[in-house]
Every structure is written in structure tokens, then in C-alpha cells.
């Protein structure tokens, strides 16, 4: 019954062996500032940020609303060009979006006119893999997310949690070295969210991709991450870089351990201070 995860791992290993080695997915952010608008309207969203993320690391970006989390993530995805500084992935400057960096959005980002199977197979298809290989990749991932029965349905026929599982599978079907996730579970109910978190960790452990995960939920960040990065109120800069002292695999009951609680409190205090600042800024 675990064969699909095992076969996934083999898939992942196959793809990595050869020209690419296992150390993929290193992110270096060097003095990045991002401004929006021009002249009078110009305002900074991200300020002088420097950051290193090791291959295979799971990093959560935490911060008050509007502090620039999405903007920073989008600069890694290549949707936004830094006004100054550089973003390097595996030593190469990011110049635009690409299949080596998978992206998962908050919601409604599946192609509504493609079936679940075709959504997942879209990346491999674009990469010019043959019909048979695309199909086999799609099947593997359908099995992984437990939605084989829904393969020929359209996204609108699935619940939000199912859609988000497909979104993750679609991004992973390219075997990216980096997976970028912008509040992917933000729109889900608490129960579904918890299950999604566990299944994301299981998937991640099979793939060992680097994950950058944006969230405003402290519990989620501590439960998932190796490192929690806390951003200041806009313009965003990273004010704390906290290592999570919990073992892997993570289990839901770890949320009651002293280490978890302590780190959570630390995060909450920092966030509260920043949120207050943000609130004052916005109401000035």
C-alpha cells in the first residue's frame, strides 16, 4: 500500500541522477530590495534582505499582512524583479519563472478547463515528455494524493482541499528543485488544513526538494518548518531566523511539547510587535 510513495522516491531519484545531483535547491538572496510604483507612488515592499536557504530545507516565512511575504516569494518565483540585489537559485540568477521552481498558490489556480489528470500532466507535457511518460507521471501523482478516482473530473467538481492537493501535485510533477508555496492552506478549514500539512511533510520527505512556505499561521509554521523566518512590518525585512528544534517525522501531538510551545510563544511575541507596528503605520 506504500508502493506509490516508494515508486515516487524512485521517480525522484531517477530524475536526479545523471546531470543533476542531489544538492539542488539552494537559494541565495543577496541585498534584495523591491519597490512598487514610480515617483510619488513609489513604495518599498521588501528592504535589503539577505537570506540563505540550503538544499532540501523547509523554510516558513511568517509575518503580518502586507509585510512583503508574497513579494519576496514572487522574486524567487521570478514573477517580480528585485529593484536591487539578486536572487540566485543553484547559483544562477533568477530571470523569470521556470519549471525548476514549482509554485503553489492560495486557491483557484488549477486550469478549470483541464481535467485533474491533465492539470497534473501539464508540466511534463510542456517539457516535451511523450504521451506515455506524461500519463505515467500523472498516474503516479494521482495515486500519491489519493485522487485517482477523480482523474477525469474538472477542478470545480473537487473540494478546496482536494484542489490544493492537485495544485501541489501539479507543481511537483516537474520535479522542481524548489517548491514555493504562498499560503497554500489559507483557505481551508482547520481539520483539512491539518491533514494537508501532514501529507505535505510526507511528500516533501520523499522528494527532498527545498520548500519555501508563506503563512501567517504560527502553529503551521512551527509544525512544518526546519526554520521559521519572521518578517517585519512593511517594508519587509527578516528580523528573526529561528531553528525549529523538533524531530522528524513530525506528528500532530508534538504541538503540545514544551519545545513547540516555547518556539510558538517566541514567534507570537515577535509577530504581535510587528503587527502592532503595521497597524499603526496603516492608520497613521
Amino acid at each position: 500500500m506504500n508502493t506509490h510513495v516508494v515508486s515516487l522516491r524512485e521517480h525522484a531519484r531517477d530524475r536526479r541522477s545523471g546531470t543533476r545531483n542531489a544538492g539542488r535547491g539552494q537559494i541565495e538572496i543577496r541585498n534584495v530590495s523591491i519597490h512598487f510604483g514610480r515617483g510619488h507612488d513609489a513604495h518599498p515592499a521588501v528592504m535589503e534582505t539577505t537570506l540563505d536557504i540550503a538544499p532540501g530545507e523547509f523554510v516558513c516565512l511568517l509575518g503580518p499582512s502586507g509585510c512583503g511575504k508574497s513579494t519576496l516569494l514572487n522574486s524567487m518565483a521570478g514573477y517580480v524583479k528585485p529593484s536591487s540585489g539578486t536572487v540566485l537559485v543553484d547559483g544562477e540568477a533568477v530571470s523569470g519563472p521556470g519549471p525548476d521552481r514549482g509554485m503553489v498558490f492560495q486557491q483557484y489556480s488549477l486550469f478549470p478547463w483541464k481535467t485533474i489528470r491533465d492539470n497534473i500532466g501539464f508540466g511534463p507535457k510542456l517539457a516535451g515528455r511523450g504521451y506515455a511518460e506524461t500519463d505515467s507521471v500523472a498516474n503516479t501523482f494521482l495515486e500519491m494524493i489519493g485522487l485517482t478516482k477523480f482523474a477525469d473530473k474538472y477542478p470545480a467538481e473537487l473540494s478546496g482541499g482536494m484542489q490544493q492537493r492537485v495544485g501541489i501535485a501539479r507543481a511537483l510533477a516537474n520535479y522542481p528543485s524548489v517548491l514555493l508555496m504562498d499560503e497554500p492552506f489559507g483557505a481551508l478549514d482547520a481539520q483539512t488544513r491539518l491533514m494537508m500539512q501532514e501529507s505535505l511533510l510526507a511528500t516533501w520527505s520523499a522528494f527532498s526538494t527545498t520548500v519555501v512556505f508563506v503563512t501567517h499561521d504560527v502553529d503551521e509554521a512551527v509544525f512544518l518548518a526546519d526554520r521559521v523566518l519572521i518578517m517585519s512590518a512593511g517594508p519587509g525585512a527578516i528580523i528573526a531566523d529561528l531553528r525549529v528544534p523538533l524531530d522528524r517525522p513530525r506528528a500532530a501531538d508534538m504541538a503540545t511539547t514544551p519545545q513547540f510551545m516555547q518556539l510558538k510563544k517566541q514567534c507570537l511575541d515577535l509577530i504581535r510587535a510587528e503587527s502592532l507596528k503595521a497597524f499603526e503605520q496603516q492608520n497613521r
Binding site: 506504500n2 518565483a77 474538472y154 520527505s205
Partner: protein, 308 residues
């Protein structure tokens, strides 16, 4: 070592959440208390029967409404009703019906229809090709948009009839001026609906496609075009209607054939029943071809119907 633990942990929640989530409102089961999985087939059969029943009811109502109109027309002409609107010289439905039957037996009548349909088809296909391309260009390029928009705004309100003299002067043959007029009718709704549809493409889908490795052309084929398709389909249906609407104006130019010419000719000969026959045939063919366009688009929009 830990892989087994991970894997099995992953299995359970997935299975549990399936059961849990299929009750969520995201599912497209039509009746509110429908249960998924096992009874899904049954539900669907029921759903289909419901749709048919509802359809049948609608068709029945429409037919009844037409019958009411027919009866009124008959009574009004029979009693020579003259209350502000004067029915005294309006041909009664039975005489129109008779005239229609006579024409049905006349091969020339079919030539009129065939010639008109060929003109509509030519004009319409040209309008579809040019309209979709123009609409997409306008939506994707600011320059193209600023360049084309004034032409659309100025030309769109001009009625087809007003084009007759210029069309005759501009185009080399009678045939091409008629096709031009039907083409123009279809063009504007197709351009504007395409423009609107492309503009509505959600940016997040374009981004998703880029991150999956799509080139500009692939984004166009796999994202922008399908996203715009519901709106384009609406434009195509409206365009077909307007094409028929402009037909008579175009065929006034014609010296011989076409159902618009037939109608116009009946007017010149003061043959009232034939005028009405021509009008009704134009109306009927317009309806049918609009329906055909909708039907042809349906396979491409299946995902949308399922989403409701």
C-alpha cells in the same frame, strides 16, 4: 526507516479526507442532499431526467406561446382589428402558410436560401477569424488597442443599410459587397467579446503556467484562449444573429438571389404573404444557425457546465 512511517501516515489522512471532503459544497452534485460515491450514478441519472423534464417543460411553454401568437394573428387579421395598430392589410397566417407551401415546392426558393447561407457563412467565417485575432491583439497590446478602438466605436453604430452605397462603390462585385455587409455585422460582437474574454484571464493562471514551463505561445493556447472561450462563444452566437440581421440590407444590392432579396422583391411587387414568408424564413434560419453555433461550441465548454 522513517519512510514507512511517513508513507502510512500520508495514506490515512488522504483516505479520511476523501470521505470528508466529498460532502463539501465544491462537489457538483445537483440536489442538495445528494450523497456521493456509491449512489453517484443513480444521482446522475436522476439529474439527467430532471434536466430533460425541465427542458421539455420549457419547450412546451415556448410552443404554447408561439401558438398563442399565431391564434392572435389569425383572429386579428380575420376580424380586421384596427386599434391604433391596423391589421386590415396584414396577410393572415393561413395565407402566409399557403404561400410558404407553394415556395417549398419551388426549387428556386431553395436557391434563395442556399445563396444566402453561403453569403452568411463566408462573411461569418471571415468575421470569426479576423474578430478573434483582433480581439486577442487588442487585449494583449496596448498599442493595438488604442489603435483599433476608435474604429470600432465609430463603425459599430452604423446600420447595415447605411453601408449599401459605399459597399457597392468599394467592392469589385455585387457578391463581395453583400458578404462584406454580413461580415461587418458579425465582426463587432466577436471582437468585443474576445477582447473582454481575454482581459478576464486570471493572472494567477498565467503565472501558474509560466512556472510550469509554458512559453508565450503555450500560455496563449493552454490558458488565455480557453479562459476567453466562454466569452468568445457568446460573441460568436451574437455575431451569427447580427449577420442574419444585416443580410437583407446586403441583399437589397443583389439582383437575383438570396432570401433577403426574395423578401425585398416581394415588397417591390407588393406581395404581402411572401414578405412575411421571407421574414419568417430569415428569423427561423437565424435562430437555427445561432443554435448551431452554440452547439458547436459546447464540447469546448464542457468543463464550464460541469462546474455548476
Amino acid at each position: 526507516m522513517s519512510s514507512q512511517a511517513h508513507a502510512s501516515k500520508h495514506d490515512e489522512p488522504a483516505a479520511v479526507s476523501d470521505g470528508h471532503e466529498s460532502k463539501a459544497p465544491g462537489c457538483a452534485t445537483p440536489s442538495p442532499n445528494a450523497v456521493p460515491q456509491g449512489s453517484r450514478r443513480l444521482d446522475f441519472a436522476e439529474f439527467l431526467r430532471g434536466v430533460l423534464a425541465r427542458h421539455a417543460a420549457n419547450v412546451a411553454i415556448s410552443l404554447a406561446a408561439l401558438l398563442v401568437g399565431l391564434v392572435f394573428w389569425h383572429v386579428a387579421t380575420h376580424t380586421k382589428l384596427n386599434v391604433y395598430i391596423n391589421f386590415e392589410n396584414v396577410p393572415p397566417p393561413l395565407r402566409v402558410g399557403e404561400a410558404f407551401m407553394v415556395h417549398l415546392a419551388d426549387p428556386e426558393f431553395y436557391i434563395h436560401i442556399a445563396v444566402s447561407m453561403r453569403r452568411i457563412l463566408t462573411g461569418y467565417l471571415l468575421a470569426t477569424a479576423l474578430g478573434v485575432i483582433t480581439g486577442v491583439l487588442m487585449a494583449r497590446s496596448r498599442v493595438a488597442r488604442a489603435f483599433v478602438y476608435p474604429y470600432i466605436e465609430i463603425l459599430r453604430p452604423i446600420p447595415a443599410v447605411a453601408w449599401i452605397p459605399l459597399a457597392i462603390l468599394m467592392w469589385p462585385s455585387e457578391e463581395s459587397s453583400i458578404v462584406y455587409i454580413t461580415f461587418l455585422g458579425a465582426l463587432f460582437p466577436i471582437v468585443l467579446n474576445t477582447l473582454h474574454g481575454v482581459e478576464q484571464t486570471p493572472e494567477v493562471l498565467v503565472r501558474a503556467a509560466k512556472s510550469l514551463g509554458a512559453s508565450r505561445l503555450q500560455i496563449f493556447w493552454h490558458v488565455i484562449l480557453p479562459a476567453a472561450l466562454p466569452s468568445i462563444a457568446a460573441g460568436l452566437a451574437i455575431g451569427m444573429g447580427v449577420s442574419w440581421f444585416s443580410l437583407l440590407a446586403g441583399e437589397i444590392i443583389s439582383g437575383q438571389y438570396g432570401i433577403g432579396y426574395f423578401t425585398w422583391n416581394a415588397y417591390s411587387l407588393i406581395n404581402y404573404p411572401d414578405i412575411v414568408v421571407g421574414m419568417l424564413v430569415i428569423g427561423g434560419l437565424g435562430t437555427l444557425s445561432t443554435y448551431a453555433v452554440k452547439l458547436a461550441m459546447q464540447p469546448f465548454l464542457a468543463w464550464q457546465r460541469r462546474a455548476r
